[in-house]
Amino acid sequence: MQLLRTYILPRIAQWAVVIFVGVTVTFLIPRFSPVNPIDDMISRMTAFQTIDPQAVVAMRANMEDLYGLDGSLLDQYIAFWRRLLAGDLGPSFQNFPAPVSEIIGAGLPWTVGLLTTTTLISWLLGIFVGSLVGYFQHQTWAQVLERLVIVIYPTPYLITALILLIVFAFYIPLFPMVGGAQGSPALTWNYISSILRFGFLPAMSIVIGGFAFRFIMAKALSTTEIASDYVQYAELAAVPKRRIVMSYVIRNTMLPHVNDLALSLGAMFEGALIVEVMFGYPGLGSKLFTAIGTSDYNIIMGITLLSIVGIATGSLIVDLLYPVFDPRVRLR
């Protein structure tokens, strides 16, 4: 219980503070922006027709009320928190009156599905292959593989995505170009297989980049690890190489990897913006992209809030899980 009082509870309090500060900053930043979405909208409406000035004033008051932009900054702030805690993120400005939570909710499963799978695959693959290459770094296959990854690593993933799209959707039309699935949502093989087919290329472009990054990290970490006394000693004792790679090299480099995984999973709610836009994937990234283009504050804020909570929670979980991965982690 000592642990609970001196470590776990303060850590959870810290998590709450991070979220509070994040939400406050998210609230303030758009309000300091010179663009006022209501002015924007009214000027668009009045651009091609004349409207009675009194009607415009009434409309403005109406909209300010709707969007939570009336009253002083403090009033707005309090109202903002009240609505937030009730799970109400307000309406979308552009797709009025659809609530933001509904729009985010529609994009969320796509993004979460795509990113959980790709993050886990690239994480596991990167650690495993990277550590193997680090361990067998004098073998030819390892050196070839490493050079290959070093070429892939600095390639921005929008270029990888573009290449995949051109080759496998245009010239060799194996995969569809745009969309998330075909047909109406149902638990049928047709629908599920179409999700896999539509998701394959976006997934590949994320996996390749993520794999390369983790590969290089795992290789660097395992290179220091194989020089350690305990790996050298186990090798001298002819402990099987498989055991050394798994229980000695990888096991001892897990901390930074777990950290990276939790933060990547937390960052998932931002969506994979570029890939989603490029493949017309109906996830959060596409929504965020449209929202930024049309200054749809509520949606931007909704997605930002989600990713703040995601990242804060991710690092909270890592901190609480550290002792599981390294027995040397002890409370001082």
């Binding site: 006394d229 305990y230 001298l236 004792a237 002819a238 390294d326 040397r328």
Partner: protein
């Protein structure tokens, strides 16, 4: 009983090449040893004299830049005569831990920090025996009990143990499969004196239980005096004297050995202790002739040019020194 391991004119050099400049460090130069089955053989010498290099070669576990450029290492294990240079990787792995084993220098860090002690034991046992986890746990528990280690270390992680305990666990880990030939590299260095005593006792127990051969490498003559049957003195990659422990301690012949023994504290005398003048030579350009001549008070002209041979001066007592050789021929002439 015959020699369990022997070397014949063994030369092992570190050969490095950088920007076309070749550098050769003669860490082990022309060493011939016969280590008898069942004995405790001590190898002594100051830092940088080639002790650990010799051990690497004896273990047949060396990688470039360390290269054996001449001579051979031969194992006589269970009636089988094996030349280390001819052994395949497979044979080498087979031999380790079952027949020959190694207690490393700085045992503090040789245990995997994220694995419980019993799992490290399982890794090492299962590498050579077909055992289940529970069988190796049982083997470990029994062995630790035999050696007087508390049972609770089984479930501990290395960082939870004291330095002395970690060293003892490492000795147990190295000898769990009862190897015939055990190499120990500075097993007591970095431990305080009280703990040292326990570790020495444990090494003795392990060695005596199965009559294994123990090759003990340390700069600490006190440890040798406690454990070793015979001692070899190494200086700058050369074997300068070899004799039974008692002989080395009471009648050292080689000037270097004499210095070593005189530098030990003595209970009876209150004199200031002498240290050896000068410093050990760099092994990439060793002195000509006798490698000790620059620091030797007895050095003569011959010592500067001609390398002394290792000669027998008494039964089981060998030394390589021109001065001793001369004295001996005088004594015989008289």
């Amino acid at each position: 009983m015959g020699a369990i391991i022997e070397t014949n004119n063994l030369r092992a050099y570190y050969i490095t090449k950088a920007y076309g400049v070749e550098r050769t460090v003669k860490a082990v130069d022309d060493i011939t040893l016969r280590i008898q089955e069942g004995e405790v053989y001590g190898i002594a010498g100051e830092s940088g004299c080639g002790k650990s290099t010799l051990l690497r070669v004896l273990l047949n576990a060396y990688q470039p830049p360390l290269t054996v450029v001449g001579g051979e290492v031969i194992y006589n294990l269970d009636g089988e005569r094996l030349n280390a240079a001819d052994m395949t990787e497979e044979q080498n792995r087979d031999l380790r831990w079952r027949k020959l084993s190694y207690i490393p220098q700085g045992s503090m860090h040789v245990l995997n920090p994220v694995r419980r002690i019993r799992d490290s034991f399982h890794d090492f046992i299962s590498a050579h025996r077909d055992v289940t986890k529970n069988e190796s746990y049982a083997m470990t528990a029994e062995y630790l009990r035999d050696l007087g280690l508390p049972e609770k270390v089984m479930r501990s992680y290395p960082h939870q143990l004291s330095g002395g305990m970690r060293q003892r666990v490492t000795i147990a880990l190295a000898t769990i499969l009862w190897p015939k030939l055990i190499f120990a590299d500075e097993p007591t260095t970095a431990l305080d004196v009280v703990v040292q005593r326990g570790v020495i006792q444990m090494l003795k127990d392990v060695q005596q239980k199965e009559g294994s051969t123990l090759v003990l490498i340390t700069h600490d003559i006190g440890v040798h005096a406690n454990l070793a049957d015979r001692i070899a003195i190494l200086y700058a990659g050369k074997l300068v004297e070899e004799a039974e422990t008692r002989t080395i301690l009471n009648e050292p012949k080689h000037p270097y050995t004499r210095y070593l023994i005189e530098s030990l504290p003595n209970l009876d005398s209150r004199e200031e202790l002498m240290s050896i003048p000068g410093r050990p030579p760099a092994l990439d350009r060793p002195p000509s002739g006798c490698r000790f001549h620059e620091r030797c008070p007895l050095a003569q002209d011959i010592c500067k040019t001609i390398e002394p041979e290792l000669i027998q001066i008494a039964p089981r007592h060998f030394t390589a020194c021109h001065v001793v050789e001369e004295e001996l021929s005088h004594a015989q002439a008289v």
